[in-house]
């Protein structure tokens, strides 16, 4: 470039930019610093921030495409390591960082590893809801996997002793932090399954830093939990701490104490329930009995049992009625017979010889015998002539034939 040439601003900025872009070192730099002036452009999704240390600062931009791949949300005050290129924004003549990737400093590497493992296991279905086993309502034996010296196991035992002291705890003491602890915890889960000696397993550890809890992000442990035939409750860390163990477990509790509470029912509630059932039992049989009593009362209140005399009266009434009907029948019958005989008598009357006599005919008798032929008589025979109103004595004087 010639020193006496007059450049436009654009030319200058363009020249400086080409210098920076031509530098291999600046094409891919890692820079650590603290975020300030953080803004996320709502419409475009680009992130704008200033990266600074104690004595210097640089403007930086992370375009939406890269920003969308971030596993965490950048915040002001956060220490980060960024990877990107240093260049010039020609319009403003501003020298700045174009960020490709960003990680929180410190736990950054672990955080990435965590996300990667979580994604991998999730894809394999290790966390699938359909695979989750139900937690039994009344566990007889509970496996507790925790540090023998930690507060977590005490919390768990206290809750179990208070809520459900009828259960038995099988304790597997394990280290809960430090290299290899995850594998040992996994082994304890496998042992419980091998011995098949508990109804539910609680994995417990108190709160700590992400590094402290790191062993609970063990892939082995996740797989062993997935394989377990015994339901597993994970109570690792505090409310906000999530570990792979939590995701793989059948039930996640925010704390060790909460895990113990989820594992067992409250014995006082159960006793209350049993008492309630007992009362219902008693009241149902009592009401059944009083119902039967009422039925019995009703039966004995009515009819024969209550007043046998009423029953007898009833019978008597019936009897009288029958008697009356019978009398009526007999009377009718007798009258009918009388009528019949009267009729016969009058018929008979019309045939009576007395009637004939009244018409002028007579009956001849001799010695009490009726004379129906002249042959029975001879002159001089004394005869009796019966007439309707009296008798004549006569003597036969002549017989004519």
């Amino acid at each position: 470039m010639i020193s006496d040439t007059i450049l436009s601003v654009s030319q200058l900025n363009n020249y400086v930019r080409s210098l920076l872009d031509g530098d291999e070192h600046l094409k891919n730099v890692f820079v650590s610093g603290e975020i300030s002036n953080f803004t996320e452009h709502l419409r475009s999704g680009h992130l704008y921030l200033t990266l600074k240390d104690n004595t210097a600062s640089i403007k930086a931009v992370m375009f939406a495409g890269n920003a969308s791949r971030l596993k965490f949300r950048p915040e002001n005050g956060m220490s980060v390591i960024v990877r990107g290129r240093a260049s010039v924004y020609e319009r403003d003549g501003a020298y700045q960082l174009y960020i490709d990737d960003m990680q929180p400093e410190g736990v950054g590497a672990l955080a990435i590893a965590f996300e990667q493992l979580k994604e991998k296991l999730s894809k394999e279905g290790i966390f699938d809801a359909e695979h989750k086993k139900n937690i039994p309502s009344f566990p007889k034996r509970i496996g507790v996997v925790s540090s023998p010296t930690g507060a977590a196991v005490q919390d768990v035992l206290n809750v179990l002793a208070r809520r459900f002291p009828v259960t038995e705890v099988i304790f597997a003491g394990v280290p809960v932090q430090g290299e290899g602890a995850g594998d040992i915890i996994a082994r304890a889960v496998a042992d419980f399954n091998y011995l098949n000696c508990v109804d539910v397993i609680i994995i417990a550890r108190g709160g700590g830093s992400a590094e402290d809890l790191w062993e609970f992000n063990s892939e082995n442990l996740a797989r062993e939990i997935y394989k377990s035939n015994i339901p597993i409750i994970s109570g690792v860390g505090h409310e906000t701490d999530f570990t792979i163990c939590d995701f793989a477990a059948d039930l996640r509790a925010p704390t060790p104490s909460a895990a113990a509470e989820l594992a067992v029912p409250d014995i006082f509630e159960l006793i209350g329930y049993i008492n309630n059932i007992k009362e219902r039992l008693l009241s149902s049989i009592t009401s059944k009995i009083s119902l039967e009593e009422m039925r019995l009362d009703k039966i004995s209140d009515t009819g024969f049992l209550k007043k046998p005399s009423v029953y007898i009266d009833e019978c008597e009434k019936r009897l009288t009625e029958l008697n009356r009907l019978l009398n009526i029948y007999i009377q009718n019958e007798v009258e009918r017979k009388i009528n019949q005989s009267c009729m016969l008598a009058s018929k008979l009357d019309t045939l009576s010889p007395v009637k004939v006599l009244s018409r002028g005919f007579s009956i001849l008798k001799s010695n009490g015998e009726i004379l129906a032929s002249v042959k029975q008589a001879q002159p001089g025979l004394n005869i009796e002539i019966q007439m309707s109103d009296g008798k004549l004595n006569a003597t036969v004087t002549e017989i004519m034939k």
Binding site: I170, I267, L281
Partner: protein, 64 residues
């Protein structure tokens, strides 16, 4: 009787709902009531044996 708590409670619930249904002879009701009374007493006993037992997994392994 070899029922565990869960089974006992389930049977107890059955008995109560059968009794509360009411379509039973007095004889059957009384039989069920007696069974229920025994069950509820057993359940109460099971719950009142209130002492948390703690064993180490190594002991269990040795037992087997």
């Amino acid at each position: 009787m070899d029922m565990n708590y869960e089974q006992s409670v389930k049977r107890l619930e059955e008995i109560v709902s059968t009794l509360e249904g009411g379509n039973l002879s007095l004889d059957d009701s009384l039989k069920l009531y007696e069974e229920g009374a025994v069950l509820s007493e057993n359940c109460r006993k099971m719950l009142s044996q209130a002492k948390l037992k703690i064993k180490n997994i190594n002991e269990v392994a040795e037992d087997d």
